[in-house]
Amino acid sequence: MVKTAPKLSSPARVAGSFRDPSGFVFRSEGHVYRQINQRYREHYDHLVESGLLARLVEEGLLLSHVESDHPALEPGDAYRVLDPEQLPFVSYPYEWSFSQLKDAALATLRIQRLAVDHDMSLRDASAYNVQFLRGRPVFIDTSSFERLPPDQPWVGYQQFCRHFLGPLALAAYVDIRLLGQLRLQIEGIPLDLVSRLLPTRTRLKPALLMHLHAHSAAQRKTAGKAPSGRAASFGRNALMGLIDSLESAVSGLSWTPEGDWAKYYSETNYTDDAFESKHRLVAEMLGEARPETVWDLGANTGPFSRLAAQSPTVKHVVSLDLDPAAVETNYHLCRREQSENVLPLVGDLANPSTDLGWAHSERQSLASRGPADVVLALALIHHLAIGNNTPLESVADYFARLAGRLLIEFVPKQDSQVQRMLASREDVFDQYDQTGFEAAFGRRFRIERSEPIPETCRRLYLLARLG
């Protein structure tokens, strides 16, 4: 099927799409396209003709596309231009919870299994090839498939272990916070580091022994050695056995949240009535703002993200929290409640995702992926202003970069949560009161509505960015 494209203006490559000569992704008038190059023609045709493409799209494992008549960005090399379904938000593995990374790993292995069934194989196993769409992991790189090379091992094996299995094992056996290493090691966590950090008892698990510890040892023993070029045999049964073994290794890893934050909404100082009032006010203000995209910052387990997702105009909600336990719970709740347009992510606003990788542009910062129509900042301001000593003016400046409207809850010093934060430290926050808050945010925003939250000393504001 060929779709007529919109008018072309200033198209450019997506910055992170430069490694694979088979094709690349480019953006034209805000729309993302994929160029397939001539050198990938045979593989692309087989992907289509073998039925693998249709099967993967049918199972929701691969981003769907139509072949487009949009001009290629580099016409000399072009074979096809694809118009893929557009993603509402691009997230990165270092922003995912444990189960998101695990689901992405299992989806990658399922895709590889189906690919082998269709005489194809994944040429890589990068976690960056997976995105979350409608609450589920979906593979986005249509040019990652190649005709199955006869009798050869899986070229993506090392990458799969570095991007998925190693980080998941570290999170399950050592500490969930080690998933944050993926932000430092964007090519995946080196297996020698994984092997060194894992406890000795993981050597008793055959799959972890094989794919992590022995894998690391094999890399060490062959480091700097040139390949011999001798032909070798790695049959289809071995390849399927490898997929089975990796699937079993990933499936066997688990992590259960135990953090206090995951219980936050059942243990706060909100009464049921106060919570209900806040719920109603947030819904009303969202109804007035009529956003399509909402970023819920400091979302905890996401109750207000899921509320926002039900607002008639809202198409997509990013639900960000710094606590991996809260995000893990949020992800499971979204799956259970079928809140498909909510994307829970791990992120620390005091140290948000930055531009990373080659030329600072392979992976985008949080702010670069905006702006959202509305930022929700509920029960957050005291964590930034008091917990992180961030001046209110600076918080207002940053939020003005992230969204056109801000739905924010002011939590004064009288609040028990703030009292607790101040109990063990000197109160140096002279400007932290309602007047100071309104003055600081008034530099950047206009107050559209302001309401006290009944039975609390907190206040909810709907603010619109100036200019």
Binding site: Y157, A218, Q219, F234, G241, D244
Partner: protein, 65 residues
């Protein structure tokens, strides 16, 4: 039949893409090929047996049988 030494020194002529698969990762897979292949073959065999038995049972339990 390939020897262990041959397997250890084995490397594909064509890695099929832009990604460096890593010599150690290839060597390990070659070393494990027999175990992985045999494991898959055994699982497939038992899976086929189970499917045959269950379809035979279904046929036996159906009203037409």
């Amino acid at each position: 039949m390939t020897t262990w030494k041959q397997r250890l020194s084995a490397f594909p002529q064509d890695c099929g893409g832009y990604l460096d698969p890593g010599t150690g990762s290839y060597v390990l897979q070659m070393l494990l090929a027999g175990v992985l292949g045999a494991g898959f073959a055994i699982r497939s065999f038992w899976s086929n047996i189970r499917m045959t038995v269950s379809s035979w049972k279904r046929g036996k339990d159906s009203p037409e049988a």
